[in-house]
Amino acid sequence: MHGMRGLSVFISDIRNCQNKEQERLRIDKELGNVRNRFKNEKGLTPYEKKKYVWKMLYIFMLGYDVDFGHMEAVSLISAPKYPEKQVGYIVTSCLLNENHDFLRLAINTVRNDIIGRNETFQCLALTMVGNIGGREFAESLAPDVQKLLLSSSCRPLVRKKAALCLLRLYRKNPDVVNVDGWADRMAQLLDERDLGVLTSSMSLLVALVSNNHEAYWSCLPKCVKILDRLARNQDVPQEYTYYGIPSPWLQVKTMRALQYFPTIEDPYTRRTLFEVLQRILMGTDVVKNVNKNNASHAVLFEALALVMHLDAEKEMMSQCVALLGKFIAVREPNIRYLGLENMTRMLMVTDVQDIIKRHQAQIITSLKDPDVSIRRRALDLLYGMCDVTNAKDIVEELLQYLSSADFTMREELSLKAAILAEKFAPDLSWYVDVILQLIDKAGDFISDDIWFRVVQFVTNNDDLQPYAAAKVKEYIDKPAVHETMVKVSAYILGEYSHLLARRPGCSPKEIFSILHEKLPTVSTTTIPILLSAYAKILMHTQPPDQELQSQIWAIFNKYESCIDAEIQQRAVEYLALCQKGAALTDILAEMPKFPERKSSLIKRAEYSEADTAEQSAIKLRAQQQTSNALVVTDQIPANGATSPVSVGQLSLVKVPSLVTTENDTSTDRALSQQNGASSKVDPQPPSADLLSDILGPLAIEGPPGATVQSEHNAVSGLEGDSDAVDGSAIVVVEEQTNTVQPIGNIDERFRALCLKDSGVLYEDPYIQIGIKAEWRGHHGRLVLFLGNKNTAPLISVQAIILPPAQLKVELSLVPDTIPPRAQVQCPLEVVNLRPSRDVAVLDFSYKFGTNMVNVKLRLPAVLNKFLQPIQVSAEEFFPQWRSLSGPPLKLQEVVRGVRPMPLPEMANLLSSFHIMICPGLDPNPNNLVASTTFYSESTRAMLCLVRIETDPADRTQLRMTLSSGDPTLTFELKEFIKEQLISIPTAPRSPAPSAAPPTAQPSPQIPPNDPAAILAGLLS
């Protein structure tokens, strides 16, 4: 060991400092010293130079700014001797990051070291580039680094660094790895015997396949082989075993790489892999040695993730859940943590939710774990596993936990509880209970949207109103109440306390005094809500109570001169209204129902999920899952009435125009006639915006529903200034409500789903039908997600599949009713019997209120779903191509009227249908040769070869040759490709809303040559 005295002395000086101030002084002194020494660099020996840059690095590491000396560190890199060079490289890579300009100065030196012959210099250079190289390094050094990695003359110590260095450069700029050329080389690298190089190469592979697995299929069997070799401990040098386990890290990385391949087709490879996985699952025991235990469980948890990804047979899945169930109850906290985390990931797999639910009690126990990390995982898991069946238990546990939870978790906890309560409420009174408890226990953590939402539910459900009113009264009766509780209570009691009038202690006077007691304790944002409540209470007091009236008027009087504009305005307006006597009743009538709209809470939850989403295979699956979850978009305005009914009406439907009428401004009246019904609310004083900010999210953004409109009409009718414009506007609205319009274009949705495996198949204001499909050979498994977007149930739900002759389709039982805001999953099994382009149709109907809705939807179980891309080499292609010599196995057709597109675009189009381009087989650059495998029961796996010859002079025509071992398949595939080339999906306009009959089927215009459309037409 070689010490450096000056450095050691400096470090012990720092250590001897009594406080931060002394340390600072000592460091400033040293920095001054180093700066001076660097100034006349000439006199510095290499030893001194090294010593000073180490001191700089030490100071920098402690967190002090070092704004000089970077040049000296970088210049050491170009020193001729190893000791200086080594220090230069290490200090530079710690001192600078990839964004530093100084680094650019070094590129040339670094490159010279990489391409030079000195392997120790190569190692130093590769290490620095691998740790801090940026885009510029990627562009100028990637080819050299690749050469080193592949070179047979380089020793493993250089090549393993080259592999990880390339990984870094690839992360900075993926273009530096040329996919075409690299795939084969990557596969070769996996044959590497040196486990150091293999470990590094595997990390590189993980990064490559995470971006594009298609190119690296040839690596898949090799990964399985490596895993098999490691798991059997064959041929693993002693030094690469860790506590008796053959390189656990390489095992983990290999399984990680495998998770990026969607499936494993080859039966042999699949079987081998499952044997290995089975052995890991069954053979991992808990042992005393902590490190051995950790290493073996690192492998085990990765194996679990891989099993989940491969969606293994149910038996293996239940084995996994059983293991996890065991883990979440063990004493070792790491395993408990990981058990919970992996169970949450497991929720993404269908079929296992029920088994996971058996562990609910244990998971709830973990919510009280002494370790906050574990509590968080338990919360995530409970949130994820919650559904209609267990919502009550889970939410109540969360509520109980809320009072003792750490402050850092309370906000998340209350948001999650609120979302679950809304999503899965078995009945609405329970929902109200939960939200009120939340406000009571954690008022500070309750955002406005939570209480807005409960008000919306109460307003929309008549049965709920007396219950909610009685409930809030109980809470507000308590001496210390959170301000949010005052707001929600004031709103609900103002609207609905008259429903309680006969109960003891609920007379208007009593309600008023309970509310008014709170006024001195609240802030200015709450006072306007209280004033509105007073006005409403007063209005509901029949016969009028003089004493109450004078009390309330006195309050209005007092606030008439309030400095807060919003409070002042309300006070003035309410006082004016009170003078109007009987008309008050109409104006202060109960709030209209809110139109159904997406919960901003659920929106928020989705947003934050998307925000933290990551790119792992598992996470990608999770995202697909969320996209299938009930996603309710805001309703598209169904008519021309665009004026958003803003908060003015929330508290008081028609105050503004009434006030102005009283002051007799004829311009206002003219304006209101001009704008029709909805303009009644338009001439709002600007200060009302303040309130609309407070209550904003509750305010109606979508179309004013029919109820709102008729309410307006009723009011204006009573007022006696209803005019013709009003009337006609309402007629249009009535018509609209009977028509259920699909949201989005059904045809476009279908076409999109032909190319991907999950997404939305259909959506209208009441329901959303999502789909998620998995294809394996000639089998398909689809899950329909039927999501009710409303707070009322959908009834008479019926789904019938009308399969074409070539498909065997089995749909599991579809429930007759979909509860409010619930989502129902209906699995669907598909077997492809023989090649055909016909499409299965889903005949779906349901009833909402009096609306009977029936739609016929094409299912994306189309021909290309049974194709698997396959790369065919020249040696395989040509004999096959020649052996299928002519019709009916080989068909040729000149196609005209092709949509002109450049060749790469055509290649992309084909590969999007799983038809794989085989580059280089056809010497003519204007031709495309491609191959694919088709799966059906009659044909089994069958190779199909395609050749497309284009004419560069005329892009609208081409000659297409198709061959396969089955005449029908050849014909069907030829027609299929032809359709794709001729009619590229263009979005047909959906029929104009006004043209739709009252109970219209939202069937889109489908091109007449579309067989599915003809089928659907025949059946309807």
Binding site: L57, G63, D65, V87, L157, S247, D371
Partner: protein, 161 residues
Amino acid sequence: MIHFVLLISRQGKVRLTKWYSPYSQKERTKVIRELSGVILTRGPKLCNFVDWRGFKVVYKRYASLYFCMCIDQDDNELEVLEIIHHFVEILDRYFGSVCELDLIFNFHKAYYILDELLLAGELQESSKKTIARLIAAQDSLVETAKEQASSISNIIAQATK
């Protein structure tokens, strides 16, 4: 991927830092401050993982020193925990039952060793023997250069006598 490695003493003193993702000095200081607050306050019988700003930090305490590595949410936590232990074993072999003082006064050595263990935030070598060999080779390169230098300066000294 490992985004950074931190060695922090029980008193919150920084003993070693290595950053594989770009962080400015300001961000580095902030990260260290935040994580010291989270990790040093955790009790002894808790798990070795903490959630932190959408990442995970895997840490383990060895005597008075906390070894921390920050990884992505979906990385394999136990794998990284054992990388930490692997690192400690290599340090132990090199220094001969390593203690905090060894690392304080030889932090540059710790960097050499870390650079053979991790690269680009990934594990580079899992054989302790190989790493020990490589570090020994580096040391001898430096020694040889030193001897050469001193012999040259001897020659010069003698020639100018």
